[in-house]
Amino acid sequence: MSASIQPAKNAGRLQHLLPALLVLLLALVVIWLSYTREPAEAFLFPRLISSVMVLLAIWNFIRAAAGLARVGDGLAGKTLLNIAPGVGVMLLLVYLGAKALGFYAASFLAYLCVYSLYDPASHLSVKSWLRRLWVTALFMVVIYVLFNMLLKVQTPRGLFF
């Protein structure tokens, strides 16, 4: 009797197949561009690398399709649910918020959202919210001093700064 494979230790076939397919597609696009774009001299090295990359990507895909790709913990459904809000905040605030609100405002919100979403303390307690706001504000002051005052980094300004 074989012991069952734990999902946390060995990701399901689909979890390997999907990235393997994406990497294969990427490799095919890269090799196609390398061999079709001009001037050919500029694509000499890309042709060499993309050829090796396609071979490896095909091999990787075959292994994933055959269920032989057993390396990597994979992602349990619960983990995916846990990280989704955090990743969502990063994507929203960086790709949309930074220019619309301003870099500092978006970063402030990103910090506050990530901290609040994952803080086990009650979301109904005023004290918890005050602590989150205080920690976020303090951290952003440190960032402002470091990047704006010391490093003179000019960040994009939006609705705020």
Partner: protein, 504 residues
């Protein structure tokens, strides 16, 4: 003894303050679980832009050295290794702390780190010029093969899967080709405006090393962060020194193993620590006491993981091949200051190179002094809740990547690479070969093009790239690294299958 001429540079006020700040900051960062030395150094690079090259490197070198040693604090007091290099330290260190010998464990840990680290840096000092002189004989074909070897060796050693390790390296090489080709002026693989300037190395390093760790910290969800640190009392340093001398065999084994491991590209501190621990246990007359609070375990692991720091920079400074992911990040730090390491580094930039190396030697001493002092406070950092730490690293990564070229495009690339890397790591791809591919890609391509031009004027590329003793030796090493990885990967699959088929 050329290095002695440049010792003064280390003690210039700004340089020394940076060395001190980097050491203390590194110790605290190192003690924080989830913040790896590579990530700490990557996040520090933007702060070096405004500094002179030497000063910037001093800061990065100090952080590299002390984060590795600082990881021992949380390993001993919390049983949570600050970095993978400190896994072996936790085995006996925490048991010592539980038995009320926490201070003793911290003392011997930092003293062993210091001894191992100093010997490692001395190895760097004496080996680097010799290798650099040898590297002068390298032509474009040899440098091309060296770059390919760097990617394959790390792809082979750092990954759990042969094919995924090499594929990660290829992905890195491809990322390095994005943007304008300098020689032909042609656009390559520009799918979005943000990619016009190519993928900046620092931006990529921050994304690849910081963002997956941010997501990893969030993966547990809203859970109570309960970490109980064992408090430490006072203990005579002299007694700890006596204990270190008593365990000279563990110290010697750890230092030798760490130094040798450091010279092999891609192996890293985790292997050094575990291998030194294992060998010390095997050679010990009291093997059964290991894992139960034997100081020899702590001494072997810590001397090894710090002894590998210096030698891991030898291939970087002589051949531009980083010996570890952190060394790759340091290479990024060199490149942003317009310094290209290689055979002529010590001729063109002797002051930068020697002051940096000397600072690592002084940094080891500072690390011992401040490590012992900071240790009990540093453990408190490990009690910072993961959401606070994750949010802080995220914001630092955003600002750090933006400050590289003051471009939002870099921030988009950083985040996209970071999130993609998290998912790729979950299915067995590796960050180290990808980063090495990205860093070594331009070196490999420039030498490939230069070699092709020479080959066209001579007997053709096959003869130019594949003949001659050095070319053949390097090609043999590439084939050996790939074959070794292939067979060890198959062995691992077979042993996994055997484990799964065990009848309960």
């Amino acid at each position: 003894m050329e290095f002695l001429q440049y010792f003064g540079g280390v003690f210039e006020p700004v340089s020394f303050m940076l060395l001190l700040g980097g050491t203390i900051g590194g110790l605290i960062l190192g003690a924080t679980p989830g913040l790896s030395p590579t990530m700490a150094v990557a996040l520090l690079i933007p702060f070096t832009f405004q500094l002179e090259a030497t000063q910037g490197l001093i800061l990065l070198g100090a952080a590299y050295t002390s984060t590795v040693a600082g990881g021992a604090v949380s390993a001993i007091l919390l049983k949570i290794p600050g970095a993978p290099a400190n896994i072996a330290t936790a085995l006996d260190g925490h048991e010592m702390a539980r038995a009320g010998r926490g201070t003793e464990a911290l003392h011997v840990s930092f003293l062993a780190s210091g001894v191992g680290g100093i010997i490692g840096v001395l190895l760097l000092i004496f080996l680097t010029p010799v290798l650099a002189r040898w590297a002068l004989a390298f032509g474009p074909s040899h440098l091309f093969w060296m770059a390919i070897l760097g990617v394959t060796i790390i792809g082979s050693l750092d990954s759990r899967s042969f094919v995924k390790g090499l594929l990660s390296g290829c992905l890195g090489l491809w990322l390095s080709m994005i943007g304008y080709d300098d020689i032909q002026g042609a656009q390559r693989f520009i799918f979005h405006d943000a990619l016009t300037g190519g993928v900046n190395i620092i931006t990529a390093l921050i994304g690849i090393f910081a963002i997956p760790q941010v997501i990893e910290m969030l993966a547990k969800g809203r859970v109570e962060h309960q970490v109980a640190a064992i408090s430490v009392g006072k203990q005579s340093l002299l007694n700890s020194l006596k204990l270190l001398v008593k365990n000279i065999k563990a110290l010697s084994l750890g230092t030798v193993i760490g130094s040798v491991i450091g010279l092999i590209p891609g192996v890293g501190g985790q292997i050094a620590g575990l291998l030194a621990y294992d060998q010390t246990r095997k050679f010990s007359k009291d093997a059964d006491s290991f894992g139960k609070g034997n100081p020899a375990g702590v001494i072997a692991a810590e001397s090894a993981n710090n002894a590998m720091v210096g030698p891991s920079l030898v291939p970087l400074l002589t051949l531009s091949i980083p010996g570890s992911p952190t060394a790759a990040v340091l290479l990024g730090g060199l490149l942003i200051h317009g310094i290209f390491p290689g055979s002529d580094l010590f001729d063109n930039y002797p002051e930068v190179a020697w002051t940096f190396i000397n600072s690592m030697l002084v940094g080891q001493v500072l690390m011992v002094i401040f490590g012992i002092w900071v240790a009990s406070y540093a453990a408190r950092v490990a009690q910072v809740p993961p959401p606070v730490m994750a949010a802080a690293v995220l914001v630092l990564a955003l600002f750090g990547s933006y400050s590289v070229q003051q471009s939002m495009g870099d921030v988009y690339i950083m985040l996209a690479l970071g999130i993609s890397m998290y998912f790729l790591e979950k299915v067995g791809f590796s960050a180290a070969p990808l980063v090495l591919g990205l860093i070594l890609g331009p070196i490999a391509e420039a030498n490939f093009i230069q070699g092709s031009m020479i080959a066209n004027a001579m007997d053709g590329p096959v003869r130019y790239f594949l003949t001659g003793p050095l070319n053949l030796f390097l090609v043999a090493l590439v084939i050996a690294s790939v074959s070794w990885s292939f067979f060890s990967s198959r062995k691992q699959v077979n042993s996994n299958t055997a484990t799964l088929d065990v009848t309960p």
